[in-house]
């Protein structure tokens, strides 16, 4: 039989900055290549949603305008989303979406957007935009979620994330907040080069785009596996794919993080 997962793409019309579509495309294509049926449901403001049917939720980044528009709608669904995440629903939240999955976002104009508090984290606007290539190491932070020795024998290949960050928000983790990884090169959550992103159960938050998933195929597959586990409540194995092109791009992005000139943003 063919396994099947359902992905909810939250607010694709408002939250879609910086190649977020590439993440959805990557999940969709990799599911096809793995032989997993994958249904993608777009949820916009006011749309009916049944989160108990959702195996993997995706929300991308948006401009401040996009964020304001959806924040109220998201908060109304917040309780249900948290409940399903506690039951194993996987989630990938990026940039603006990540911020709204924290407790709140205090914006540059002084007003505050309420978040849904999946992550014990909050965000405050900063002055300087943090922009550049970034490398994140998930080894120290991920003992409970990274699937060791999957696909490749070289462990660093599937514990490193590469991407590009571009955010003015500073996201602080509370006492129960766990980061996604430690920054090897780049700014990270608050710009100090220490921690990046957040993890709660199978929900992940990060500032990485680039897009994130195409060049980090191990992480894309981790999300698909988490979604399968949620749907079938048992570990399902995926056959390995030929990821040589993706991994070459991954390696090059690591090199480029050191050689590219960083921009200064006013």
């Amino acid at each position: 039989m063919n396994y099947k997962i359902t992905i909810y793409h939250m607010y694709p019309d408002a939250m879609n900055l910086y190649g977020d579509y590439g993440n959805i495309l990557t999940l969709q294509k990799r599911c096809v290549w793995h032989g997993v049926d994958c249904k993608i449901v777009n949820i916009s403001v006011g749309d009916k949603a049944h989160f108990e049917d959702c195996d993997l939720l995706f929300i991308g980044g948006g401009q401040d305008r996009g964020q304001k528009n959806i924040a109220d709608d998201l908060v109304m669904r917040g309780h249900k989303i948290k409940e399903e995440i506690d039951k194993g629903m996987a989630a990938l939240t990026i940039c603006g979406g990540f911020q709204l999955f924290g407790k709140y976002f205090k914006m540059a104009n002084g007003s505050t957007l309420e978040g849904i508090g999946v992550f014990d984290a909050w965000t405050e606007a900063g002055n300087k935009r943090l922009v550049g290539n970034i490398i994140v190491d998930c080894r120290k932070t991920s003992s409970d979620w990274v699937l060791k020795s999957r696909f490749q024998s070289d462990e660093t290949l599937h514990t490193t994330l590469v991407g590009f960050e571009n955010h003015s928000g500073r996201t602080y983790l509370g006492p129960n907040g766990k980061p996604l990884g430690t920054v090897i090169k780049g700014y990270g959550n608050v710009g100090d080069g220490t921690f990046e992103g957040a993890v709660y159960k199978n929900a992940f938050g990060t500032y990485l785009h680039g897009s994130l998933l195409p060049k980090n195929p191990w992480f894309a597959d981790h999300l698909i596996l988490a979604a399968l586990k949620r749907r079938y409540d048992t570990h399902i194995d995926l056959k390995p794919l030929d990821d040589s092109l993706e991994l070459e791009a991954h390696e090059f992005a690591k090199t480029r993080a050191y050689t590219a000139k960083t921009d200064t943003i006013k």
Binding site: L17, Y18, G19, D20, L245, E248
Partner: protein
């Protein structure tokens, strides 16, 4: 005295820069001259009797400037431009220095047509005091440099507030651009009125919410991205009625025919030499600006029909018995539309060159927001090149182009050689480079004698 010194040093730098073949000398002379005399730009532009026209917006600046130059030239005006694509203020100063007397009292030319980056508008507008400002469109472009698109719109808006006596020519079909009329009373609009046109792209990932109130806009017709006939169901913000229109469009493989109506109530049927809907907008923007300088519809027609492609924008170059088409790509909408314009029933050969230098935008994630999927069924030779060749290769893989046929060669010179080598005689290689990749490729072609230097 400062002015004299600035011009003299600038001219000297230009001479050495060309003599040493360090490019066309389009930036350095201006940089030096501005260090010596901060007001040099205003001093030199005030010499032009018909003033300055500024062209800004995300896409189509260079092509619009080129078309407008050809139109005004057909109306016997001597046009000063910075069409080399060196569109920062130091590029402008360089252009003017080259045409000025050493004393700076005279500058050869009747009218200036300057491309200005969105981000430098606030700086450039007060310095130049333009007669006309044309805004083409606002898409996502190099977000890492400019911040997000709303910020760019606000930035241009503030620049328009400065220019109180300036005529502002705006694209009515782009809600973000039309919104800019709030900042300036002398706004006039252009737009497409052909009711047979409704070709909405599947990738509607740009701004489609009302700029005023954030509600999702209703579209009666959507031509591409967020461009079309829109209205906000909540606050009443809607597409303004344009005075300058293209009311009929016929697109054939080799040529595009348009019927133009100007704000002077004249009509003209015009054949364009460049493909794609976005070039119709460029022609319309150029025509609208021209009609405010009392150029007749006949002169507009003559200028447009004799206009060749701007450098690197669908520029055709012959290399022995083969052809290259250069199409600059720099943002998702431009990339999507360029792909659309080259895909046909025939199999095509492509070289995609992705750099991530500052002028390209250091963030390459925009390639994932472009619709490159039409390439999947119609390609023969496929080469990914540039600094980020591997990123482009992965993008193509996820567009279902088999990795087996994707050749990765980050070295541009080698990639070009491979491409030309693998296509049969008489065939065309479509080259889609980002900005710095295009400069490098073009320099290569100039060295080999196939293209003319861009400063000529």
């Amino acid at each position: 005295m400062r002015k004299f010194l600035a011009i003299a040093i600038g001219k000297l730098a230009m001479f050495f820069s060309r003599a040493l073949k360090r490019g066309g000398g389009t930036a350095l002379p201006g940089l030096l001259a501005q260090i010596i005399d901060r007001k040099i730009l205003a001093k030199l532009t005030s010499n032009l009797k018909n003033g300055v026209i500024i062209i800004t917006g995300t896409n189509g600046k260079t092509t619009t400037a080129k078309m407008l130059t050809d139109i005004l030239s057909s109306a016997k005006m001597d046009v000063v431009t910075n069409q080399s694509g060196s569109n920062l203020s130091r590029g402008l100063v360089s252009t003017l220095i080259a045409r000025s007397s050493l004393t700076g009292r005279r500058t050869k030319g009747d009218v200036g047509i300057f491309e200005i980056d969105e981000a430098t508008m606030l700086e450039a507008v007060p310095k130049v005091d333009p007669k006309i400002i044309v805004v083409t469109n606002l898409f996502r472009d190099q977000l890492d440099r400019y911040g997000e698109i709303d910020k760019t719109a606000t930035l241009i808006g503030h620049a328009l507030e400065y220019a109180k006596g300036t005529t502002v020519v705006l694209n009515a079909d782009d809600p973000l651009v039309a919104f800019l009329s709030k900042f300036n009373k002398n706004a006039v609009f252009y737009g497409i009125e052909d009711s047979n046109l409704n070709d909405a792209s599947g990738f509607d990932n740009d701004n489609r919410e009302c700029v005023e109130c954030g509600t999702k806009l209703d579209y009666k017709a959507r031509y591409f991205s967020h461009i079309g006939k829109y209205a906000c169901p909540k606050c009443g913000f809607k597409r303004p009625n344009p005075e300058n229109t293209v009311y009929k469009i016929t697109i054939k493989p080799e040529e595009t025919n348009i019927s133009l109506h100007t704000s002077k109530k004249e009509n003209a049927d015009i054949r364009l030499n460049v493909p794609g809907l976005y070039n119709i907008y460029n022609a319309l923007a150029a025509s609208s600006a021209a009609s405010f300088l009392n150029v007749t519809a006949d002169q507009i027609k003559y200028g447009l029909e004799n206009s060749s492609a701007a450098f690197g924008r669908m520029e055709k170059i012959q290399v022995k018995d083969k052809y290259l088409y250069l199409l600059l790509v720099k943002n998702p909408t431009g990339f999507t539309e360029s792909v659309k314009s080259i895909v046909s029933d025939k199999t095509i050969n492509i070289l995609l060159a992705l750099n991530d230098n500052f002028a390209d935008g250091t963030d390459v994630s925009w390639i994932w927001d472009a619709e490159v999927e039409p390439l999947a069924t119609k390609t023969n030779v496929v080469i990914a090149s540039g600094i980020r060749a591997l990123d482009m290769a992965v993008r193509l893989k996820y567009a279902e182009i088999s990795p087996k046929i994707i050749q990765v060669e980050s070295n541009l010179s080698k990639a070009l050689e491979i491409g030309l080598d693998q296509i049969p005689a008489g065939e065309t290689l479509f080259v889609l480079p980002t900005y710095t990749a295009m400069m490098e490729l073009r320099n290569l072609l100039v060295k080999q004698g196939y293209a003319t230097p861009f400063w000529e």
